[in-house]
Amino acid sequence: ADPIRIGSVVSATGPSAFLGDPEAKTLKLYVEELNKKGGLLGRPVELVLYDDGGDANKARTFATRLVEDDKVVAMVGGTSTGATMAMIPVFEEAGIPFVSLAGGIEIIEPVRPFVFKTPHTDKTACQKIFEDMKARGITKIGMISGTDGFGKSMRNQCLKVVGGYNITVLADETYGATDSDMTPQLNKIKNTAGVEAVLNPGFGQGPAIVTRNYAQLGLKLPLYQSHGVASKSFIELAGPAAEGVRLPAPAILVGDKLATEDPQKAVVAGYKASYEKATGQSVSTFGGYGFDGIQLVTQAIDKAKSAEPKKIRDALEATRSYVGVTGVYSFSPTDHLGLGTDSFRMLEIRGGDWTLDAPTR
């Protein structure tokens, strides 16, 4: 039978390869597994995957190609918010459902008929962090953010919501995504009187270097990272300096530590096992976004009993309580993310591993 084509454009190379690479691997892995199980609606599934190298202009071109040439019925991809925003008009115009893997809140606000997304917004991450700070009585913080899209957007969201928690930001520093030394900025924070904790929105190697420099300077204040470092390699890169770092992250990082009754436990364990077996690398939240994206789409196709884009879209929007590795999703016509703050867990790095800080619900 004719294959069902699902398209994807991710940043498998370039500055966001850190995110895009596990996404690409996950998508390939799951389409393969699906086909082993006989595909969808009795038809094989074909994944058409392109690498935009982190360039929004290329992403746009590939999006056109997916729609025009490859005739895909759905799209899972868009590693960065910039690339996603560049591709949205193409899929909107063609009426093809697009599940984005990028963080930016503007992807789903305002809601567009055909656009969904799987990762938490950075706003949720900020809220989770500030809740934690508040609970620990922290009221004055310093921030050091990456200037990449991820860091910048999260910084903005955090600054927007921080007031609601009675927390003031006393220092607000930045570093370039590719910098190899952040001591000057951290030194400034160190010398800012009154700072009680430091927050570092960023992804890639930057936060690891921040964490190391933090230790080098002998800073003893609590250090908060974001979900942008939620992969095992952060602990490896930051080394012993990572001890005590706190961050909000999805369940995937602590799959084995979840309570037995946790609904996500089984899904997370399954994904972790198959990903690590297939790639030899540790799972990350980013791969998890891809997992949820492809699962949501394939389940929607299954439910719609059709590979008709419009029908897939409708089925997607009707998704309720899909248990994924990132959280439990319930879409609605007004909510194309469908995750709440509760899908984030607050983790702390102890003994070189993630530990669940607060008991799960």
């Binding site: 190379t13 370039g14 200037t147 370039g176 190899s180 900025q185 890639g204 890169l237 080394g239």
Partner: protein
């Protein structure tokens, strides 16, 4: 005061890394007038190969040695199969070949290695050394020491050996170099081999600080190139001074001006220096003869 000192330490560390990369540019430039855009990728090979060899169970010194040798091999292959066949082509063409080579090396590296960031353990521990209220990582001393050693070696080689002179002569006048009996092919191969070795060594000592990834070479090349130009292209001492200066400019820019615009601060300073010394700090003030 301690803050100032801390910035100096950071600046020197970062600057020494740039200096090491800038040194790598010197040899190939001196032999051929070509800026090797794949220079940063030698740095990457040095770091990544050491990481992977160590994870295969080799001790750091052994892994580093093999990584440097491998990088030299890549340098020689690059010369033999890409530069030599295009002999006689203009520098622009050769530069384009090195750009192609850089893309190629990255492409291969992401398959041979992976796309993740990696780090190496610091050679002599992570315990910061407190100095005057500021701290210095032992690895910084490794980087500074390597830079110092290499610049001295390179200076002696270029100024006090016949092979060094032959290298300079080859770039100065290829025709005359051939006429006095210099084997131009061999000289170029040597330049590529040595540059690759310097680059790889830089990668090995810098990776514990900067981390590394298959595509980190582009950034390294950019900073190293800027350092080499600020110092005056082709002059090893200039490369080191240029590197250290850019490192210091960046950290002081970040510390005292704006962390967002610290790269701009560094580049504005370069423009400022070149305005008065159009051939860089050590590029000489020679007047063109007509």
């Amino acid at each position: 005061m301690s803050e100032f000192l801390q910035l100096v330490f950071s600046g020197l560390t970062v600057g020494a890394i740039y200096a090491l990369i800038a040194l790598g540019f010197t040899l190939i430039y001196n032999a051929s007038d070509v800026i090797n855009f794949a220079q940063g990728d030698f740095v990457m090979i040095g770091g990544m190969a050491t990481v992977f060899l160590m994870s295969a169970g080799l001790a750091l010194p052994v892994a580093a040695f093999i990584a440097v040798v491998a990088s030299v091999g890549v340098g020689l292959l690059l010369h033999r199969f890409a530069i030599e066949p295009a002999r006689g082509a203009s520098p622009v063409t050769l530069i384009m070949i090195t750009i192609g080579a850089s893309i190629f090396i990255k492409g291969v590296a992401q398959i041979v290695f992976d796309k993740q960031f990696h780090s190496l353990p610091a050679f002599s521990g992570d315990t910061p050394i407190p100095v005057g209220g500021a701290t210095l990582l032992p690895q910084s001393l490794w980087v500074l020491g390597t830079t110092l050693g290499l610049v001295v070696a390179l200076y002696l080689f270029l100024e006090h050996t016949l092979s060094g002179k032959a290298l300079l002569a080859t770039a100065a006048n290829r025709l005359a170099a051939r006429l006095v009996g210099i084997n131009v092919t061999l000289i170029l191969a040597m330049a590529f081999g040595l540059s690759a070795a310097i680059g790889a060594l830089a990668g090995v000592v810098a990776t514990p600080i900067t981390l590394t990834r298959y595509d980190i070479g582009t950034l390294f090349a950019l900073k190293g190139f800027a350092a080499a130009m600020l110092g005056g292209m082709g002059n090893p001492v200039g490369a080191v001074v240029g590197g250290l200066l850019i490192g210091l400019l960046e950290t002081f820019g970040a510390g005292y001006v704006s962390s967002t615009y610290k790269d701009a601060v560094a580049f504005l300073m370069i423009l400022f220096v070149l305005f008065f010394l159009p051939r860089g700090l050590f590029g000489g003030r020679s007047v063109e003869r007509v």
